[in-house]
Symmetry: C2
Subunit: 336 residues, 2 copies
């Protein structure tokens, strides 16, 4: 690559755009579908139930302990597909790059995307690259969209929680948000906190081997566990009770939250899922999760009730109860 | 909607994010798959040949004669799918919004996207919204990704051009790029030029009714007709000859190009396609195109040859020949 920075001309659609695709993106993402460089990828997909999802990523800074914007962009869409019990197959990537971005930074991010895609078992099959003038974007924004297939017999949706069901989380909460915050404060090294950013599709596949009767899966990203459970309570018209003493939170994350004035229930996660499952299946699912890399610290943290539909109530460690609302206002801009 | 501007909190993932989705996006895009507001849309798709494409849009200004960033975002992805002979079915949308954007502007853009989606016959089934601080993006960037199905017997790709084939375009070139330029110069009214931005999937479906034996379809967007034909010449290892006097160019566009120093062959189009077809089918296809709304001014503008593989040669009106290269450098930043 002749250039060490991205120029406006790399977004022209002309010669330099082609060079960028051939020298930076294809060497990393290359596969049969992408390599044809047609206007769209053609892929083959069995069956008719297709899952389709998209997220854009604008995290600042673009590198942080435990990940970077590229890993986030791949895992985020993989996870939103997995939250429907879908097997993610193919991703698209859309880059909006600020003129002047170091080519080495772009290459690092692209390599990290490919590593995440490989771990998740998905191919990046189509893409787009736009470059805007200095000052018109902040370094790099990435959109991913993804498609996956849903097998028959799987019916997972935020609308399906039922009174009596248990609420499971696959591990510690608040890691991602506090890792990015620590990075912004220049405290990432001392804090010892790393993002939990991870692809969860293989964990979900294992859970579905236990039973297809999983009601809800959702990844508590922006807005955190509190907001996600409020969404589910609203969509399913049920109440949710959380047990504060069961919530897995790392000491470092708790300390950082106290220091910076955050409630971990509202802090973003990028490698966590909330599962709502029938009570009689909860222990079996939990055991399988605990045997998986991204479920070692899984815990049952609450249950679904018919009381207070649409509301989430926290039973505190000292025996009190308080309503846990949806996030109001903005806590952590550009956390993902 | 209580707010007349987009706030950072509208990108928080919390209460205001939900309000924005429910009050702005769902009323416009609403459909069964989207309305569930799960982490991904579930859609049903027959068959196994699936087309998948993405583009981000960063055009500046976001409104211009003949269109806006939203219409562009829908048509762009619809067209990239159609260029594979695919029937576009579903779109995802990803918004990156600069804090402070007028809510009315957002609503206008969203309405324009829905109008374009309806014209193309596609549903917007899943989306994402991020908001960044003032100065970290320029008003609004939109990504769309799309999926479509490809029927058996269709084999369209930039790799398939063969010596002897004819090159067809569906109408006037350079309209989009010059409309955006005129807008930037404050000359849009006087210029009388409007963007050609349009969904081409129904035109393509008609062309495929004439014959499935269409070799290449490509929309000459950034980089224009010259760059797109160079891509095809390269991918198919053939030469392409263009006849200058057959190129449909509006007088106003030609005048604006001369005035501003552009070559219309390199100016972006957003409602044009280049078709490479077997010579014996060319007249029939042309006739069908001319009967369609977006093909009225279609013309045969050149042919594929075995000479000078990888190169595009223009036969000028006065009988000369010159090589028409790929766009080098950046001509018109943020044209789409
Ligand atoms: N960041 C990227 N990663 C992987 N592939 C990419 C990337 N950017 C572009 N591509 C691939 O390069 C080819 C050309 O992309 P390009 O965006 O120029 O085409 P287009 O969408 O038809 O044009 P436009 O974006 O002007 O509408 C496509 O096959 C696309 O999938
Ligand atoms: N601009 C939009 N247009 C249409 N639907 C949208 C838009 N933005 C979000 N949605 C829909 O709203 C719901 C919630 O989206 P959201 O992005 O908050 O979920 P998520 O992707 O799971 O979270 P995150 O983006 O934090 O990872 C989804 O069903 C999504 O399809
Ligand atoms: Mg998401
Ligand atoms: Mg593109
Ligand atoms: Mg999610
Ligand atoms: Mg395109
Ligand atoms: Mg999202
Ligand atoms: Mg194209």
């Amino acid at each position: 690559m002749k250039y060490d920075k991205v120029l406006l001309a790399h977004g022209s659609g002309g010669k330099l755009s082609h060079d960028l695709v051939r020298e930076v993106f294809l060497p990393a993402f290359g596969n049969k579908a992408l390599n044809r460089l047609d206007d769209r990828a053609e892929v083959s997909v069995p069956g008719t139930r297709l899952a389709f999802s998209t997220d854009s990523f604008v995290v600042n800074p673009i590198f942080f302990a435990g990940g970077d914007i590229g890993k986030l962009a791949v895992c985020g869409t993989v996870n939103d597909l997995a939250m429907g019990g879908a097997q993610p197959l193919y991703l698209s990537v859309g880059f909006i790059i600020e003129e002047g971005l170091e080519m080495d930074i772009l290459k690092k991010i692209v390599a990290s995307m490919q590593a995440a895609a490989r771990e998740a078992g998905v191919d990046i099959v189509t893409g787009d690259t736009k470059v805007v003038e200095k000052g018109s974007a902040d370094k790099l924004f990435i959109n991913t969209a993804g498609i996956g297939i849903v097998e028959e017999g799987i019916h997972i949706s935020g609308h399906n929680a039922k009174p009596g069901d248990k609420v499971i989380i696959n591990g510690f909460i608040g890691d991602h948000g506090m890792a990015v915050m620590a990075e912004r404060q220049g405290l990432s090294f001392q804090s010892g906190i790393a993002s939990d950013c991870a692809p969860l599709n293989k964990l979900v596949a294992k859970m579905l081997e236990v039973t297809r009767d999983i009601r809800v899966l959702r990844d508590p990203t922006r807005g955190g566990v509190a907001t996600t459970l409020n969404e589910i309570a609203g969509q399913s018209s049920v109440g949710i009770v959380l047990h504060e003493k069961e919530l897995p939170i790392r000491d470092e994350v708790m300390a950082a939250c106290e220091f910076l004035g955050f409630d971990p229930l509202y802090v973003a996660n990028e490698g966590k899922l909330l599962a709502i499952v029938p009570a009689e299946k909860a222990e079996d699912i939990l055991a399988v999760m605990q045997g998986e890399k991204y479920g070692e610290n899984a815990a049952i943290i609450g249950e679904v009730v018919s009381d207070h539909p649409g509301k989430v109530v926290l039973k505190t460690a000292v025996g009190g109860r308080r309503i846990v609302d949806m996030l109001v206002g903005e806590q952590l801009p550009r956390i993902c």
